[in-house]
Symmetry: C2
């Protein structure tokens, strides 16, 4: 069984871990930094761990594509796979810690006006005290109660007292970290009671444009929005309008409808908007990479034994 | 009994709360925004809640000065009080929440390189992923285990697993929030095992220059320093050298030896240094002001009944 791993951030320990796992199931691995570097005798590989999009598009031999990302929207389009039965697994479970830390960081940054303070300091200016907000007593709505939403909620809980409401499709969450969990159909009633809206949703037909202009209008004056899921979830123009008018106190977006965010896009100049270039979850954090590789190895072992894989994407749901 | 309250941030509800408490002990209150505004018939007041430094310096009638700050170093110099028996109380207990949030915010900001990302975004630049660090697995040393140190430790705990070591004079802390609490005399042995050093110390003879050049040299490569106590605790020049050389990964200072930090001071241009203008704890956060006023009212009630006050400053210790 030929296995290709595409990831330039891997350390020797990761390579060793993957090599050993592969050897245990009679697999042979090659490691490359970029897909173009796959040697000719591995182009017809059975398994890829990494963004092997060109191989997926052209090779009918590929049986399993394990991507290191959590979102897989980019794989749900027609023509992505030459072999339509190719199994897709994502790496959900490896990003909760890092993205939770991002959400806490940008929420406090906005609430405490550290953006203004930092801007002042760059100009050598000793700023004045500004009105501050706190996570304490905040009413937090978490849209998307997967690994990321739960990891965030566990950390936010320490800033108590505060309220944490989860919202997801089923209205149910296994982990008892929210005060209550509601269905997406109840969202409109919850938004007016929200100080901080945290969005960690995959891109699916149901989540696209979920934070519409109308729903942004339901958020109370002075509230905050953080998005770490996918940019398609938000009407960006309506959000920019609400920030321009000062009705929303701030927003922090790590994801955008178009990435990289195009030059000249109005969001670059929108006030009280923190823009990060899709880095809330990335493999530059050791912990994230360790878990990511661990998930793949566990799955590779299962694959070799013919057992069902974890994190298999349901193509009808899109996550 | 004449009581003067100096605080321009008070809301009507705070004034009402203070007025009622004063009435309960036969006191008469006047509220002013600045000390210069004290009416002539209140200049010989018995109690001041606020920064009544000029009155303290000139009036022998003043029996109790309740300051809204936690630090009182500025009251420990000779000549500050005309009445040397004047009781001093501080407002320790009101800043823990807000300063803890500040520490979490700036620590994550540094570890996740959000300073670089934000600077890029101000220039309309979509940055690249940078190496990130995490509170997870961090070895955190908290120098000063009072209200602020404990409030921070409780919140940091949620980013588990990590280690939290407290350091204070006695080596004992009532709250069981640290993995271990050590004495200041053991500091040198602890610094080499520290990823994040959080300093929340008052300015006293014992804390001045506590983070000396030698001790900065004991911190490991890639570690971070956060100071929210008093600027006198750090050899600023040695810290700047360690940041310039890249040995320390970052520092976040809210307090400085000279405030405002003078124009042209090298710290303004020191790399990986987050400068905030002594705003980690200020009364612009509603919660802080509410607790601050509550502490004063509880003490005022005790004062009227001749009971011992809370938060009384021991002039020999300086806190």
């Amino acid at each position: 069984m030929k296995i290709v791993v595409i990831n330039k951030l891997l350390k020797d320990t990761h390579r060793e871990q993957i090599r050993k796992t592969a050897a245990g199931i009679g697999g042979e691995v090659v490691f490359v930094d970029k897909e173009e570097d796959i040697p000719s005798d591995f182009k017809e590989c059975e398994v890829i761990y990494g963004f092997g999009m060109e191989t997926a598009r052209t090779s009918k031999a590929l049986k399993w594509l394990a991507v290191p990302s959590a979102g897989v929207d980019y794989l749900m389009k027609p023509g992505v796979f030459a072999n339509e039965d190719c199994i897709i697994t994502n790496s959900s479970g490896s990003y909760g810690v890092t993205i939770a830390e991002h959400i806490i960081a940008v929420s406090l940054l906005m609430m405490r006006r550290l953006d203004v303070t930092y801007r002042d300091s760059l100009n050598g200016k000793w700023g004045s005290p500004l009105p501050q907000k706190s996570l304490k007593n905040a009413r937090i709505l978490v849209l998307g109660t997967g690994d990321i939403g739960c990891c965030f909620a566990r950390r936010a809980r320490a800033f108590e007292p505060l309220s944490l409401t989860g919202v997801c499709r089923s209205g149910e969450c296994d982990e008892p970290v929210f005060d209550k969990v509601m269905k997406v159909s109840q969202l409109d009633g919850l938004l007016p009671e929200t100080d901080l809206l945290v969005m960690s949703l995959p891109d699916t037909q149901e989540t696209r444009d979920i934070l519409s202009r109308e729903r942004i209008g339901l958020l109370p004056e002075g509230s905050y929005v953080v998005n770490v899921g996918r940019g398609t979830a938000i009407d960006e123009d309506a959000l920019a309008d609400a920030l321009d008018s000062g009705r929303l106190a701030g927003a922090a977006l790590d994801v955008f409808r178009n990435e990289p965010l195009p030059e000249g896009n109005r969001l670059w100049k929108t006030p009280n908007l923190i823009i990060t270039p899709h880095v809330a979850g990335n493999l530059t954090l050791d912990h994230t990479l360790d878990v990511n590789v661990g998930l793949f190895c566990a799955n590779l072992s299962r694959y070799g034994k013919g057992l069902p894989l974890e994190n298999v994407i349901d193509r009808t749901k899109g996550y």
